[in-house]
């Protein structure tokens, strides 16, 4: 009786409650950035922000494919490093070799993703262990290859993906190439995840692999494709980062955890069964915005990691609460 009335009256409030708080957090952070950097709200500022966040967004969306089917891919950070270091070593400042090198690092990524997928689905190694092992091995390969210090140079035609910005674009004025890469990659992933049978199966496999198997779903194939997408996302992010920051042995460090954090912020359920590309993109931009704010107020990088750890816990704790309410 009265319950119905009050429910109707507070419907907008309840609707607000249903919005994931990471969007609210993103808004607050963006406002904070706008106050801290005067020209942020210009097309230039927004595009610079997107360019900074592009690689994390790409890896996070890749990670979504593995997380939604109940796994983890912790190898992406070292795969990014391998992509950057490997390209630098293979190209060695000879622009003619750029495209060969890009093809080769994608092949390496596909090989690594395929290997992880096979190990997880056929040898039944929990993906958290398998991908941690891959993290160690891939980092070892990158270090052994480069002899332990950054070597080689990346020519401009490689670095353009991370660095070049088109000017005089109508309406938005400027358009960094990395934002184009981001948009294309996210569009492809959104199609894969929301517009194909594969996407639906990924969620079902994350929910109950046994039931999926007994309904004729090729669970192993689904898992392998998931790891492939994640690996390809890491290589793509690596190519952007190589252009953005240049070769270094620690370019990829910590990306695996940031990608998981971005997913958690974006409403992906750990251990599978729920997630969306739009949510993850929002989650990764939230994280980028947060890092930007922490940077602007002068927090050293290690402390930014610490803040990230706290956020990870808080976000999962919140989503647990939220599920409790939904019951």
């Amino acid at each position: 009786m009265t319950a119905i009335g009050s429910a109707a009256r507070f419907a907008p409030v309840r609707l607000l409650g249903r919005i994931h708080p990471s969007y609210a957090a993103l808004l607050v952070l963006l406002i904070a950035i706008a106050f801290l950097t005067p020209n942020f709200l210009s097309p230039l500022g927004v595009m610079a922000f997107l360019r900074r966040g592009a690689s994390l967004a790409i890896v996070s969306v890749g990670q979504l494919f593995v997380l939604s089917m109940g796994g983890f891919d912790l190898s992406v950070g070292s795969l990014i490093t391998l992509a950057v270091m490997g390209s630098a070593l293979m190209i060695n400042n000879d622009p003619a070799l750029t495209w060969h090198a890009i093809a080769l690092v994608y092949l390496m990524g596909i090989g690594s993703g395929l290997f992880l997928g096979l190990v997880v689905s056929y040898l039944k190694v929990p993906s958290i262990i398998a991908s941690l092992g891959a993290l160690l091995s891939i980092k070892g390969v990158a270090l052994a290859w480069s002899g332990g210090s950054p070597q080689g140079y990346l020519p401009d035609n490689f670095r353009q993906f991370g660095r070049v910005t088109y000017h005089d674009v109508p309406i938005i004025q400027v358009l960094p190439m990395s934002v184009v890469v981001l948009a294309v990659f996210v569009a492809i992933c959104a199609w894969l995840f929301h517009g194909t049978t594969f996407g639906r199966l990924a969620l079902i496999v994350g929910d109950n692999p046994r039931a999926a198997d007994l309904a004729g779903v090729r669970v192993r194939l689904v898992r392998i494709v998931g790891f492939l997408v994640s690996a390809v996302s890491a290589v793509t992010a690596g190519i952007l980062l190589g252009g953005f920051a240049g070769p270094a042995q620690d370019v990829g460090d910590g990306f695996e955890l940031q990608a998981i954090a971005a997913n958690v912020l974006g409403g992906t359920q750990l251990l599978g069964g729920r997630g969306s590309v739009a949510g993850v993109v929002a989650g990764s931009l939230t994280l980028t915005a947060l890092f930007t704010v922490l940077n602007l107020i002068g927090l050293p990088k290690p402390l930014r990691d610490a803040v990230q750890g706290g956020i990870l816990i808080a976000a999962v704790a919140y989503s647990v609460r939220r599920q409790g309410w939904e019951k």
Partner: protein, 509 residues
């Protein structure tokens, strides 16, 4: 047996008076009274959602009543927590057993009550104590056996021993016979009678009339959260109880059979065998329902899995639609036109957090090209929504998460998943396990209608009346082999005799 006499003299061990309990939007229990005396077996029945489990949870201290009182030995008590109920000697044995599969029987019996001093365990005392309980129940396994390696029935005995170690004077058994075959059920019912004789008050929840009438002194029926009535066993009949549960006469519980047009078999198995079964040979014809009966461990479940390629045949021949085949995975079998409803709905049937729709579409998704557009139209051109309406899945919407539906509606969704593919052979393992009477009747009708449409149905069931009621023919298994075949109209005695391994001349070669 004198149980009725002693019951009349004793004050109730517990009495629940006028219990009311509401949840947001639902009155789960409305003025329900229920009691049980020492040395009484009081059966509680009702369809799913009738309020049985809420009543049990109130007794077990999980839920607190909004109104009403609970009296233990005549004294009012408040049970605010499961542990408090436990301390009062109330023990509930849930359908999902709570044993530690990797630990020994002794560890399990004494979990949380380990004997010893200063935090040190007295292992000798645990083993001796456990052995005493096991001997009392006539068990053939020892206190050192690993719990997970015991059969479901044996695990249930361990659960009972565990409850009694806690000095349980009130024992609630929720569907204890659901997963048991006939001999195991007999053994369990004997144990229940033994406990009754020792003065334990027992609440026995079951869907199976035969088991209720075999053991209960009193039967109480709930419906829609209200008490329909309480009857002494001698003054009622299974028909009356079912009528009380459903609120109407259940006519045509088992749908009528139709004469089958003769034709070529859709499935032939010859000499089929694997790790669990041996020398399987039979034929399955379009338009018929064949039931496979047998004891737990007879290999009847393994037969279903072998045909479906989940645990494939390693020997022998299998012919589907005239072609020799060997499905090695479920996907192979599905492509041959075989569907399979698992006996473990939660673990093997459903993606619980996905929608009704996604669950119904799962088999179609499985055979679809992996990067295709996810459609929602069955190959026969009907939308999955229409199919879900036809099988009468009741949900707030087909986008609702399936875990929120009743067992019956979940099972109908699983059936819809297979009907969407229209397989020529549908294998159903325990198709009505743990669902209520009305849903059972609906499932029977669906299976019969499917057979009448020219498909073959193979049901594997531990529920004998169900096997006899629904099947055109019965296959009976014993120790991994087909013990024989019985025509429609066979009696339970015939089936039991075959299942127990007594050979006789009923089976045509």
């Amino acid at each position: 047996m004198g149980a009725g006499l002693s019951m009349a003299e004793a004050a109730p061990r517990f009495e629940m008076r006028g219990i009311r309990r509401t949840f947001p939007g639902v009155v789960a229990l409305d003025d329900v009274s229920f009691s049980c005396a020492a040395g009484e077996v009081h059966a509680l029945c009702g369809e799913n959602g009738a309020g049985k489990s809420t009543l049990i949870k109130v007794l077990g201290g999980v839920h607190q009543p909004d109104a009403g009182t609970i009296l233990l030995d005549g004294k009012p008590v408040r049970l605010n927590h499961p542990l408090e109920a436990r301390r009062h000697g109330i023990s509930i044995i849930h359908q999902e057993l709570s044993l530690l599969p990797e630990r020994s029987v002794a560890d399990n019996i004494y979990v949380g009550r380990e004997p010893g001093r200063l935090g040190l365990l007295d292992r000798a005392a645990m083993r001796a104590g456990a052995e005493t309980w096991l001997r009392r129940f006539g068990c053939r396994f020892g206190a050192d056996a690993v719990a997970g390696s015991l059969s479901i029935a044996e695990q249930q005995v361990v659960e009972i021993a565990k409850a009694l170690v806690f000095n349980a004077r009130i024992l609630v058994m929720d569907e204890p016979t659901a997963a048991l075959d006939e001999t195991e059920t007999e053994r369990l019912l004997a144990l229940v009678r033994q406990l009754r004789a020792e003065g334990v008050a027992i609440v026995f929840i079951s869907h199976r009339m035969r088991h209720l009438f075999a053991v209960a002194d009193t039967i109480t029926v709930l419906k829609d959260g209200k008490l329909v009535g309480t009857r002494p066993r001698g003054a009622t009949s299974p028909e009356e109880i079912v009528r009380m549960m459903v609120g109407r006469e259940l006519k045509d519980y088992y749908p009528a059979r139709r004469a089958r047009a003769p034709g070529a078999p859709v499935l032939t198995v010859a000499g089929g065998g694997n790790e669990w079964i041996e020398g399987i040979g039979f034929e399955l014809y379009p338009g018929e329902i064949v039931a496979v009966a047998g004891l737990e461990g007879s290999g009847k479940a393994a037969l279903g899995r072998a045909i479906f390629g989940a645990a494939p045949f390693s020997r022998g021949q299998m012919v589907v639609g005239g072609q020799a085949v060997r499905p090695n995975t479920p996907l192979d079998a599905i492509r041959l036109g075989i569907g399979y409803v698992s006996d473990d709905r939660k673990a093997e049937g459903l993606a619980l957090r996905q929608s009704v729709l996604e669950n119904a579409l799962l088999a179609m998704r499985g055979i679809a090209a992996i990067f295709s557009r996810p459609g929602r139209t069955a190959p026969r051109g009907r939308g999955i929504d229409q199919l879900l309406r036809e099988v009468d899945v009741r949900a707030a919407g087909y986008d609702q998460q399936i875990r929120l539906l009743s067992g019956g509606n979940q099972q109908k969704t699983v059936l819809a998943r297979w009907l969407a593919l229209a397989p020529r052979i549908l294998v159903c393992a325990e198709p009505t396990r743990g669902i209520d009477v009305a849903a059972k009747a609906a499932i029977y009708r669906l299976l019969r209608a499917y057979a009448d449409s020219g498909k073959a149905v193979l049901t594997i069931t531990s529920d004998l009346p169900e096997a006899i009621g629904i099947a055109d023919r019965l296959l009976v298994m014993h120790e991994g082999r087909l013990a024989g075949e019985l025509p429609a109209g066979a009696t339970e005695e015939d089936v039991v005799a075959l299942a127990a391994g007594h050979q006789f001349e009923a089976a045509p070669a």
